[in-house]
Symmetry: C2
C-alpha cells in the first residue's frame, strides 16, 4: 500500500468550554473535513447535515451559506474525492516502471487502494445519487478521474471500447467488492501476496497481443 493522498485536515477538538468566535474563519474547509469524518463513521446512508454542523461546532443552519443544501455539501466533497481518487492512481504510477502496461496496472492498483482506504467516500463517488453530478466542478473532476484509466488503456495498446470497458470494469469490480468486505479469499491474504494477486487479475483485462 502506497501513500494515500492527504486527507482533509482533521476537525478541531470542538472544545465546549472555549468561547468560539462568531465568525469561524474557515468554516467551509472545516465543514468538508467534518463531512468526510461523518461519512467514514456513519456511511452515505447515515449522513446527517446537522451532525456535520455539530461536529464542526457550529449551528445547524450554518452550512447553508457555504453549500446551499446537503446535496451541495456532498457535491463539493465528491469533487474533492475524485481529485484524491486520481491522486491515488498517480501515486502508484510514480512508483511503477515506465512501461505502459505496468503503468496501467499501477493505475488499477491505485483505484483499489483508494476504495479500500476510504470505502465510504468511494461509495459516494460511484454509487450514490446524493451529489449533483450535473454540477460543473464535480463533472469535470469525475470525468478526469475515470478518463485517466481509459487514456492508460490507449497508451498500453488498447484500441476498442471492449479494451477500455474490460480494464475499467475489472478495476472497479475489484475495488467495490474489496471495499465492501467481500472477496474474503483475497482479503485474508498478507498484503504483498494480495497486491500481487490483484495485479495479476488486473492483467487479465489488458488487451492481449
Amino acid at each position: 500500500m502506497t501513500d494515500q493522498p492527504p486527507r482533509l485536515r482533521p476537525s478541531p477538538p470542538a472544545d465546549p468550554g472555549a468561547t468560539r468566535p462568531y465568525h469561524h474563519g474557515d468554516l467551509r474547509a472545516a465543514l468538508l473535513a467534518a463531512a468526510e469524518e461523518e461519512l467514514a463513521e456513519r456511511g452515505v446512508e447515515g449522513f446527517s447535515l446537522r451532525q456535520v454542523a455539530k461536529r464542526a461546532g457550529v449551528s445547524h443552519a450554518a452550512p447553508a451559506h457555504h453549500f446551499g443544501d446537503a446535496k451541495g455539501l456532498l457535491t463539493a466533497l465528491a469533487a474533492e474525492g475524485f481529485r484524491q481518487f486520481l491522486a491515488a492512481q498517480a501515486a502508484r504510477e510514480a512508483e511503477a516502471p515506465p512501461d505502459p502496461g505496468e503503468q496501467l496496472v499501477a493505475a488499477g492498483l491505485g483505484y483499489v487502494d483508494f476504495a479500500m482506504a476510504r470505502p465510504a467516500l468511494f461509495h459516494l463517488l460511484w454509487q450514490s445519487e446524493r451529489p449533483d453530478f450535473g454540477d460543473a466542478e464535480l463533472g469535470q473532476a469525475a470525468r478526469a478521474a475515470f478518463q485517466h484509466l481509459v487514456d492508460q488503456v490507449s497508451a498500453a495498446g488498447g484500441t476498442s471500447t471492449a479494451d477500455e470497458g474490460a480494464v475499467w470494469a475489472m478495476a472497479h469490480g475489484l475495488a467495490d467488492l474489496l471495499a465492501s468486505g467481500r472477496l474474503s479469499g483475497m482479503l485474508t491474504l498478507p498484503p504483498e501476496a494480495r497486491e500481487a494477486m490483484i495485479a495479476g487479475v488486473l492483467r487479465r483485462a489488458l488487451p492481449r497481443r
Copy 2:
C-alpha cells in the same frame, strides 16, 4: 412460505372513496411489492417507510407488525432480491450451451442483466448497509447467490482464488458500471452487439489454459 398474492396491485392509487377492509388480507406481500416500486422510483437513499405504507394504502405504522422496522422490510426485500438475482443467472444458463465455459459466461450475463433491469435493487443488494446482512434468511440467499459464480468457475477449470476473484470482479464491475449509466461506449451499442461485447469481456477473466 409466501402464498401467491391474489392481486399484487402494481400501483394502487389508494382510492379515497373505496372502503378498504380493516384487514388487508396479504399486507406483507403488498408491502414488499410497494417497497420495490418505491425503491425503483426514489432509489435506496430516498426510500421512505411511510411512503411505502401510503402506496400500499395503509397507515404509517402498519409495516411494523410484519417487518419490525425499516431495516426489517429492506432485509426481506433484499433476500427476495438475491433469489431473483440468482434466477436471472439461471435463466441465461438455461439458454446457453452446456459447455462449462459457456455456462460461466451465461451466469455473468445474467449478473449484468439483473443489474441493468433493476439497478436500485442491485444497489440494495451490493452497496447498501440498510439491510441486516446478519439475518439468517438474507445471509443464506446472499451466499447462495454469489457462491454460484464461484462454483461455475470451478466447473470451468478455475482452481485459484485469483480465478474466482477475477470472474466475480469482472462481472460485478460490468454490472455496477452499466447499472449506474457509465460505460457509455457500451450502453450506446445495439443490444446484440453490446451483449456480444460483454460476453467477450467476461471471457477475459476466465482462467487461461
